[in-house]
């Protein structure tokens, strides 16, 4: 009940900037250490004078199954902050690229056990467990569309590599 009152109070004061910061905390359901801001999925947050919030997101992969979930998460967060009229748009241009991933996001991925996408194709893919630059590709298609499966030939552990696109 208190929470409802609080969110009611927040309604009066939350600015578009604050809404953006709130939405930036929505996490990717498949890689929960990363937020949609870390990934570059969240493209734009606008509020019209009549109070409608228009959020623009872009898919990482064409068939990314997380998009529906993200749309409903964005709506939920905005509803909790008193915004009843929400529109979530999908944009395809410019096409998402792993280059948009922040350095901080890449560090978080490594900590989580996923080798981050490289900035240059010639950079090494380091094992997230032992940091060795020694691995072989097992499959270009891992547990999700964005990851490839590799095995470290130094420590012997399998790991996911977030593919560069």
């Amino acid at each position: 009940m208190d929470a409802a009152l609080l969110s009611g109070a927040a309604m009066v004061t939350t600015t578009t900037r604050e809404l953006r910061d709130l939405l930036a905390e929505v996490v990717d359901p498949e890689i929960p250490v990363l937020t949609i801001a870390d990934l570059g999925i969240l493209r734009d947050v606008k509020e019209s004078p009549d109070g409608e919030v228009v959020v623009t997101i872009t898919p990482t992969y064409s068939g990314c199954p997380a998009m529906d979930h993200l749309r409903s998460e964005i709506e939920r967060v905005l509803h909790e902050h008193g915004r009843d009229r929400v529109q979530v748009l999908t944009t395809f241009q410019p096409a998402w690229t792993t280059d948009w991933m922040t350095a901080q996001a890449k560090d978080k991925l490594t900590e989580y056990g996923i080798a981050p996408p490289r900035s240059e194709a010639t950079d090494p893919i380091l094992c997230p467990r032992c940091s060795a630059d020694a691995s072989r590709l097992v499959s270009e298609f891992g547990a999700t569309a964005c990851k490839a499966l590799r095995v470290c030939t130094s420590c012997g552990e399998p790991f996911d590599h977030f593919k560069e696109i």
Partner: protein, 250 residues
């Protein structure tokens, strides 16, 4: 007659939707776990492209239809996919060969469509181009492994090449709608894609020790809604839920 861009989008949407459904049928049957994941991932990419194109196509018509309506409520004659993608899975060599032919086509199609003056199509194409590039890498590596593998894998792959070759020409045939889309700066002439496709096939076949089919018989009709008998069965399975329980939501 519906909007020309609507009809143009349907062609590419249907290619991806039908191939996605075919690949999905194969999930859990692949020869190894990694390949099962790959098939599922590739099917998902094709499904995503189809979904975005269908939603865009639906938005161009005033009939108030959704992308889902276009996927689940059109009949066989209304589907305009290539005959290649509706062909049954057969053995693994058939699946790889069908995929390789189609990937080599889409790997040149999407970069060209990414330059389209139709902004949304260009955006979808730019993303699909990246996906088609790694699909092609994957199917090419399998063509080589199977073709240049054991006597058994070679024979099966050559059989698949011979069986599917009759669906190749259709990918590169140009009709009035293509011409209209090219003139509008929206589409590409499929015929112009053939040279790059042939190049990819020649290089891969040489390494895979495979030969082009000697049979020049060619089938066509998919773009006009005339299909092989296999599409009806595929649609029966894909559409039965929405047909039986109209409007059912997940």
């Amino acid at each position: 007659m519906s909007h020309p861009l609507h009809r143009y989008l349907l062609r590419h949407a249907d290619d991806n939707l039908i191939l996605s459904q075919r690949l999905s049928e194969y999930i859990s049957y692949a020869p190894e776990l990694e390949e099962d994941l790959a098939v599922a991932n590739i099917a998902l990419d094709h499904l995503g492209v189809a979904m975005h194109l269908l939603e865009h196509a639906a938005s161009l018509d005033a009939e108030g239809k959704t992308g889902d309506d276009l996927a689940f409520l059109r009949s066989e004659r209304e589907f305009v996919n290539l005959l290649l993608v509706e062909q049954p899975n057969g053995d693994f060599a058939h699946i790889v060969t069908r995929q390789f032919f189609f990937d080599a086509y889409q790997a040149v199609l999407w970069p060209a469509l990414a330059e389209s003056r139709a902004e949304i199509l260009a955006g979808i194409a730019a993303k699909a181009a990246k996906e088609a590039a790694y699909h092609l890498r994957h199917s090419t590596s399998w063509m080589i492994r199977l073709g240049d593998g054991t006597a058994e894998s070679h024979a099966r792959t050559q059989t698949a090449v011979d069986a599917l070759w009759r669906y190749v020409d259709e990918m590169f045939e140009s009709d009035e709608l293509d011409a209209e889309m090219v003139a509008a700066g929206i589409g590409v002439n499929p015929t112009d894609l053939r040279e790059a496709w042939e190049q990819q096939v020649s290089v891969t076949f040489a390494e895979a020790t495979l030969a082009r089919s000697g049979d020049d018989y060619q089938r066509r009709g998919g773009r006009d809604g005339f299909h092989t008998e296999h599409l009806g069965h595929l649609l029966g399975e894909m559409q039965w839920m929405q047909r039986s329980y109209p409007g059912q939501q997940w």
